[in-house]
Amino acid sequence: MTQQFVTKEWVKNLHKPGEKLITTHCCYCGMQCGMHLRVEEKTGKVVGVEPRYDWPVTNGKMCPKGVTAYQTVEHKERILRPLIKKNGKFVESSWEEALDLIAEKFQGLQQQYGKDAVSVFGGVSMTNEKCYLVGKYARAVLGTRFIDYNGRFCMSSAAGGFLKTLGTDRGSTLPWPELEHTDCFFIAGSNTAECHPTSIQWLWKAKDKGAKMIVADPRETPTARIADVHLDLKPGTDSALANGIMHILIKEGYVDEDYVANRCNNYEELKVAVEKFTPEYTAKITGIEVGKIIKAAHIYGRSPRSVMMFARGAEQQSKGVDNVSLYTSMALLRGQIGKFASGVATFTGQANGQGGREHGQKSDLLPGYRKITDPEAVKYISELWGMDPSDMPKPGVSAFELFDEIHAGNIRAMHVMCSNPAVSAPDTEYVWSAFRKLDFMVVSDFFLSETAEFADVILPAATWAEDDGTTTNLEGRVIRIRKVREPLGESLPDWGIMQAIAKRLGKGQFFPYQEAREIFEEFRVATKGGKADYYGITWERIDKEDGVFWPCPSEDHPGTPTMFKEKFGTPDGKANLAAVTWKEPGETPTKDYPHILTTGRVVFHYLSGSQTRRTEFLMEQCPLPYAEIHPELASQYNLRTGDQVKLTTPRSHMTLEVRLTKAIRNDTVFVPYHWGKELAVNQLTNPCLDPTSRMPEFKVCAVKIEKV
C-alpha cells in the first residue's frame, strides 16, 4: 500500500490512497478542535476523521464527540427534503410547496396581527455568516422585533457580567496556549474535563510545571478530582464564595493596589460589600469548610499569574451576572487582566457561542455588538442593508420570554433555526404548550429534533461539513469551517433557506448572495467600528495566521489575542469592580422539596443531544439520563445504584435510574440534561430569570425524592 502524507513543518498525517483530507473544525463545543475530515475522492463521502496535529489550540486532541462528529453528515436519519405536516403526519414535499405555504402563512399572520406576529428563534451552532443573517432575516425581511436565540440559555450571563465589569464581552481575555505558563487556575462551575476536554491538556501542562488548581463545584467531577483545593459549594452560592475570597484577598494584602487604583472603579464600594463575608460567614452560606476557603484564597492570592475560569455552573443561575461580575472582580483585585498567561475566561458551550452572540441574534443587539437602541448604530446598519432606519424594529424580548409572548397571543408564528428549545429551555412543559398554541411553526434542522416534531413545516438544513464559513472559538479566535461535500439530498445551508424565504416574500434584494464568502464580506463591513470589530479579518488571513483574534479593525492590524492590555471597554477605560452581595437562588429547599437539584453535561453528549443521541458510539456509552446521589442521602430513602427514583419539583416529575457516588454533595442531586420528552430534566428546572441577562436558573431548584 502506498502512503502519502500531508506535511506542515514537522507534522505528518496518515493519508490513505483514494482519500483527501480536508482541514476544518469540530461542530460541537466552543473549543472548536482542529481536525481533518477524510473524504473519499470518488464518491465525495465523508468517511472518517484524522487528527490535526498542527492546530495550535488543540494539537490534534479530540473528545469522543469530536472523533465521531463526522458520522452525523451521512447519517441515515438526515432530513433530505422539506416536510409538511398533513393530518398530524409529516409528508415530503417540494421546496416550492413548502415555501408557498410559509409565505402565505407569514404574510397572512402579519397582515392580521402586525409584523411582530412572526418570530425567529436562532442558534449559535451556526457560522458567523449565518448568525449575522438570522438578525438581518428577522429585522429586514420579516420586520419583527421578536428575535432571540438559544445563547440565552448558555452564554448571556457571562456576556452580562463581562459587559458590566470589563465593558466588552469577549469570552477569554487570553489565548489558550498561554495557559501552559499560568501558575494558578481558579475554575468555578465548570466541569472542564467533561465539557471542554481538550482544554485539560493545557491545565495539565501547567500543573506539570507546578501550577495549582482550585475548583468550585458541588460535585467532585473529573476536573475537581485533580484540583489542589476542591471547594464543594452548595449550588447557587457562587457570589458568596467570590465575596468570601475577596474578603481574604483584601484583609491579607493580596490586592494589587496599583492596578486597582489605576485601572478600576468602585474599590471602596467593593470593600464595604465584602466586609461581612468572613471565612466563617462564607462557609455557613456555601457549606464549604473554612480551611478550604482560606487555603484557596491564599493560593489564588499568592500566584503571580492566575486565570479565573467559569462556565454554566456559575452562569445558569438567576444571579448569574452577579456571579460572573464577582469572579471577574476577583481577577481584577489581583491585577490579572491584560497580562501574559493570566486573565478571565468563560468556557463557551456552543460551537459559535462567542461569534453568535455578537452579531445581531440577541433581541437588543445589531451586528458588531451594536445596541439596537443606539440611533447611530441603527442608521449604520440600515444603510448597509438598504432599508429605512425607521423600519428597524425596536428591541424585543429574551428567548424564554418569547414563550410568554406566545401564550399572551402576541406571537402567532415562529421560525426556529438550528436550535432545540423543546429540550433545552427550562420548564419544558410550558414551552411545549406554547409550541402547540402557535398558528404556524417552521423549523430548519437536519434531524427530526423534539422541537421539529411540533412544526408545521420542516426545512432540511445542511450540516456543518456542507458549507463554508467562520466561527469564533472560546478564545475569541475567528477560524474557518470548510465545505467538505455538497449538501445531501435537497438540503440547503441555513443562509440558503433564509434566502429562499426572503425571495418568496419579495425581499430578495436583502439576500443577494451566491456563496458564503460574499456574506462574510458584508458581515465584515457590518461589524466595522463596533465593539466586536471583524473588519480586518479575511479568510486568507485566518488560513495564514491560524485564526485571527477580534477586535481586528483593519487588515494591517494583528488582531487582539490579549484583551485589555492598556484599557477596558468601558466609557472611561476603567473596569468596574462589582460590589454585590449574595442573594438566595430563586428556589430554596423547603419541607416539601427538601433537596437541591442541579443539571449538567456528560462528556458523551452535546446540548439537547439531537446529534449525539444519533451517534452509535456515544449512545453506547451513555444511553439514558440518571440521578447521581450521595450514599448518605440515598440511605434516607433506601436507594441503591440501579434503583428507580422519582424526582419531583414544583413544576413536574420524572423517574430516573440512581447512581450512588460519594463524588457529590450529600444535599444535592445531579441529572444530565441531554434527553428529550419524558427524559428531559428541564421539565423540572426553574425558569426564574436573571434580571439582566434573562438567563434561566437551570442549575438550582428544590426537589423531592421518592423511591419507585
Binding site: Q3, F5, K12, N13, L14, K16, G48, V49, P51, Y53, G60, K61, M62, C63, P64, G66, V67, T68, A193, E194, P197, T198, S199, I200, Q201, W204, D208, G210, E220, T221, P222, T223, R225, I226, V603, F604, F617, L618, Q621, P631, T641, R659, L660, T661, K662, A663
Partner: protein, 180 residues
C-alpha cells in the same frame, strides 16, 4: 519505530475518546481494542485507560496453538491472523490484562495492534493522538524517562505518598510500555 506508548493513569478523565478513535483506525471494523475502566465509581471519578502492553514475551502469542499471533520486528503484537486463527480463545484467557477480545461473528480474536499502519511511520496511534488529557502519549524513550523522573519529584515536593489508610485513593500514576 523509535517511540513508545506512555500511560499516565492519573490524567485519565474517562472521556473514552481513545475508544472512539480506536474504532476509526483503518482496519478495526469499528470495534475498539482498548478500554477505559473506573477504579471505583462509588468513591471517585478516577478512570484509567487499559491498552495492550505489547509484551516482549506475550502470553497471548505463547498460548496460541495455531501460532496466529505475530510480532512485528518493531515489537508490536498483532491481532490473530485470519487464516491461522482457529477460534479457540486461548489468547483471551491467557492475557493478564484482558486485552484480546473474541469476535463471535467473524470467529476470530481481535486486539490492539498499536495502529501499526500509523506507528510504523512514527505517526501516533489514534488513541494517543486524540487523548485530550494526554493520559496516553506516544513519545520518545528519553522523554518518557524525563517525565517519570519529574513526576516522582513533583510527588515528593507535594508530599504525595500513599499511606496504608488512604492507599486506595491512589492508582499507579505512570506506566511505560516500550519496544526497543
Amino acid at each position: 519505530m523509535n517511540k513508545i506508548m506512555y500511560l499516565e493513569f492519573e490524567r485519565c478523565i474517562g472521556c473514552r475518546s481513545c475508544q472512539a478513535a480506536c474504532r476509526e483506525c483503518g482496519d478495526h471494523e469499528y470495534k475498539e481494542r482498548n478500554y477505559v475502566e473506573y477504579v471505583d465509581f462509588m468513591e471517585s471519578r478516577q478512570t484509567y485507560p487499559m491498552l495492550c502492553m505489547q509484551c516482549k514475551d506475550p502470553a497471548c502469542a505463547r498460548v496460541c496453538p495455531a501460532n496466529a499471533i505475530q510480532i512485528t520486528e518493531e515489537g508490536v503484537v498483532l491481532s490473530a491472523m485470519e487464516e491461522k486463527c482457529i477460534g479457540c480463545r486461548n489468547c483471551t484467557f491467557g492475557c493478564p490484562f484482558g486485552i484480546p477480545k473474541f469476535d463471535f461473528e467473524a470467529n476470530k480474536m481481535y486486539k490492539c495492534d498499536m495502529c501499526y499502519d500509523r506507528t510504523k511511520h512514527d505517526i501516533a496511534p489514534m488513541c494517543a493522538s486524540v487523548c485530550p488529557s494526554e493520559a496516553i502519549r506516544f513519545i520518545d524513550f528519553e522523554e518518557m524517562q524525563a517525565l517519570r523522573r519529574r513526576r516522582t519529584q513533583m510527588n515528593l515536593v507535594e508530599g504525595k505518598k500513599p499511606k496504608e489508610g488512604n492507599k486506595w485513593d491512589y492508582v499507579p500514576e505512570f506506566f511505560g510500555v516500550y519496544s526497543d
